[in-house]
Subunit: 468 residues, 2 copies
């Protein structure tokens, strides 16, 4: 499936390459290895790489790259950490990749205001590292050490979202280079605002199709006085999910609650050299004052016991907590490793919480019936879980069966008022699902917005929806 030549219909003309090399010198590369690295991600897609990669070091670099590409009618594709799993980075219509990973400075930390402004290449771990002495943290944690620009572009969330929200709630403002190469700001440092259209939220989740983010202003939170993590095992998935549903319905302000099925625990054990019971498991974290954490944990422990959960056990030291969360975050790679050479067709459905048990059960039953190996992990406090179907990339039959599993799961999700993607974005993979979910009328509005802001269709084209 691999190919490393640009597509014949979108060659970069020498004049553009000359102009880019004149402007960016060594920060523009046309080396095949560099282009190939920027032409794929963690998705199952292989397409031709971009014709060139510009390593932007400043907003002005992005402006100039966008303008030069525009003068030559060539698409631009922003690139952060490369951790998309929906094909966002792929040069499906050719063009140049604008790699912002060197724009990795934390520009300001206004601790008293619980606000930081960063360049888009700053990763979430880097930001938290730089916050270390402030008593504050940035909670959004999609697992991968993604860039904040990429996280904003995909409206990412992850394990802490049940308590702290997603990038939707936590991006206060953006600096964006528009399709015309202009620099705009979309908000202020105020915590709320009713000042005109919510351009911040329009760009958050727009997957690079409306402009290139060059600064991201985010909310920070005081480090909780106390943090406790706990794991609990359940006789079946239903029991685990029922515990979560009741926790949410009671309004317990749990900070994280992650589900793994026994099959996935087995993969994690093998990868992380752990000895967890290979049964449905919840991994939970509680934040607050010591008294509040204890109270929350007691409530959830009682709910878990009632549902048949057992071995409720604490990870009280930071080291234990880190080991568990690292294992959880590496579940994706643990799963890939469980079937060497495989790639994952992942789902990202999110349902209203009362439908979660049915949804998980049907997904697992379907996967088991198909015989395709899979993993199951979920930010279940939000109703969001991922199935990853581990397919042989050389087998069209397996891919087709995995896509059918995915399609059926999405169809069931939409039927109960859920969404096809809780946090990964549409990218290349879910364009048809988007239409099923929201209808052609709403997608037509998105197309109208796209045309208005990017009339020539040069900003990461071919993602989210097909233009008509």
């Amino acid at each position: 499936m691999s190919t490393l030549v640009p597509p014949p219909d979108f060659p970069l003309r020498p004049a553009l390459i000359d102009a880019l090399q004149t402007r960016f010198a060594a920060n523009c590369s046309t080396a095949l290895a560099v282009r190939a690295q920027h032409g794929r991600d963690e998705s199952v897609f292989d397409v031709p790489p971009p014709g060139a990669v510009v390593f932007a070091e400043s907003t002005q670099d992005v402006v100039d790259a966008v303008r030069l590409a525009g003068e030559h009618g060539v698409p631009v594709i922003p690139y952060g950490a490369g951790s998309s799993i929906e094909g966002h980075l792929l040069a499906v219509q050719g063009g140049i990749s604008i790699d912002v990973s060197r724009m990795n400075r934390v520009l300001s930390i206004q601790g008293d205001d619980l606000v930081a402004t960063v360049q888009p290449g700053v990763t979430r771990k880097q930001l938290n590292e730089e916050l270390r002495d402030t008593g504050l943290f940035f909670p959004i944690d999609p697992g991968a050490d993604a860039s904040l620009g990429g996280m904003a572009a995909t409206r990412a969330s992850g394990t802490n979202a049940v308590r702290y929200g997603t990038m939707r709630e936590n991006v206060l403002a953006l600096e964006v280079v528009t399709a015309q190469g202009d620099v705009i700001r979309t908000g202020t440092q105020a915590r709320k605002s009713s000042a005109g259209y919510d351009l911040t939220r329009l760009f958050v989740g727009s997957e690079g199709t409306l402009g290139v983010m060059t600064e991201v202003t985010v909310r920070l939170y005081p480090l909780p006085e106390a943090v406790s993590a706990a794991i609990c095992f359940f006789p079946d998935l239903d029991a685990a999910v029922q515990t979560v549903i009741q926790t949410i319905q009671l309004g317990v302000p749990i900070a994280r609650v992650e589900l793994l099925d026994g099959n996935t625990v087995r993969m994690v054990n093998a990868h992380a050299k752990l000895t967890l019971r290979e049964e449905p498991m919840l991994l939970m974290e509680f934040h607050g004052s010591p008294a509040s954490v204890q109270e929350q944990a007691e409530t959830v422990q009682a709910l878990a016991s009632e549902a048949g959960g057992n071995d409720f056990s604490w990870a009280t030291t930071p080291e234990d907590r880190t080991r568990l969360w690292t294992a959880r975050h590496n579940a994706f790679f643990a799963a890939l490793q469980s079937r060497p050479g495989c790639r994952a067709v992942t789902t990202d459905t999110c349902v209203p919480i009362s439908r979660l048990a049915d949804s998980v059960r049907a997904a697992v039953d379907d996967a088991n019936a198909s015989g395709i190996p899979y993993f199951l992990v979920g930010h279940v406090g939000d109703g969001n879980f991922h199935m990853g179907y581990l397919i042989d990339p050389e087998s069209p039959d397996e891919r087709e069966r995995a896509e059918r599993l995915s399609h059926d799961l999405v169809a069931r999700t939409l039927a109960v008022g859920g969404t096809c993607t809780g946090e990964h974005g549409i990218g290349l993979h879910k364009m048809d699902f988007l239409v099923e979910e929201t209808g052609e009328g709403a997608v037509d509005l998105m197309r109208a917005v796209k045309r208005a802001l990017d009339p020539r269709g040069l900003m990461n084209p071919g993602k989210i929806f097909r233009m008509r």
Copy 2:
């Protein structure tokens, strides 16, 4: 300032009035009194009223009204509870008012999912009344008993926002009638989603300029196990504000924290027949488990004492709490009553929390120096506060001085990274401030979105920004 004739440049042609009356019969009114009622709000503006008012009772009614108006090239202005204070409802370019107050059914309450879907004319009090037996509540509380459609359209918030967020965070999905008269849905009942452009957030805060909302799906919350309200008085505004700043910076999950200055307490006392000390006052509320509420309250009480606060006292019974909150909510009317015949030029600035003390102090000093009576209330946990300059509407001099006070306050706010409007919206009054705040480039993007979704400029035109 009052005038009750349609503007000469936007008369409704008899053909449209005929068509509306044929379609809507008694639900279309051209009576002057009805039009006048729909042609003003709580703002200082008086303009000609709409040419007709359609009382919509269904989505189809809205569709037909929008289409008929469109066929005749006439603007439409959605009308909910009429509680805007920024001139959103005024027919500055003529047109018809679509009154959705009869679309007042709660369509579904999915208690297990913490979600409700309502028609746009449902008011927040009505929704909470209908939720009474579910153990759930809808927290967004702008003071006025606004309609949820209007609250979504202005991205409203109010007293509970510091804990529960604003309409931005709490609207999950909308049904919208577009400028073309099509019906679209913008989201699902899932708690989070990365499915394409965030159309929900694009419409939330769009002030009726992109379409007419016909259904609103909102998040609900479990009623807190315990609720305590407290008031505390301070020797000066600074001491009160410092208490708030520290409360937020410590991450205390306070549910409400409202500031009134002594002058405003005096107005409230007179209006509500209370005997509160006429000093800077914080009115607070704590939600949670009994232990958590006690812990929060003790923390804040200690901060208040340190700042010089005294008379920290509890309103433990629901009746006491209701009396205090009713008094707070009526502060606007108490202020109007303090100067019979006056109208209020209101501000709505919101600053990063560390700048709140300076901002409040300068606003009060300025107002005192001007000699214009004013009130001051604030959702200070968000950095948001309102000055209301109480002017004689017949005095151009007073209005000009009030507008200057407002302008200077906004200028100081923008200089420290704040916004000109935390929750009221731009409307007619703050269009110039929007440009100052976000720049012409960002406003041009808004204009491009407006043109894309409403090419003929018929959806509540003349609000938020001037087209070019």
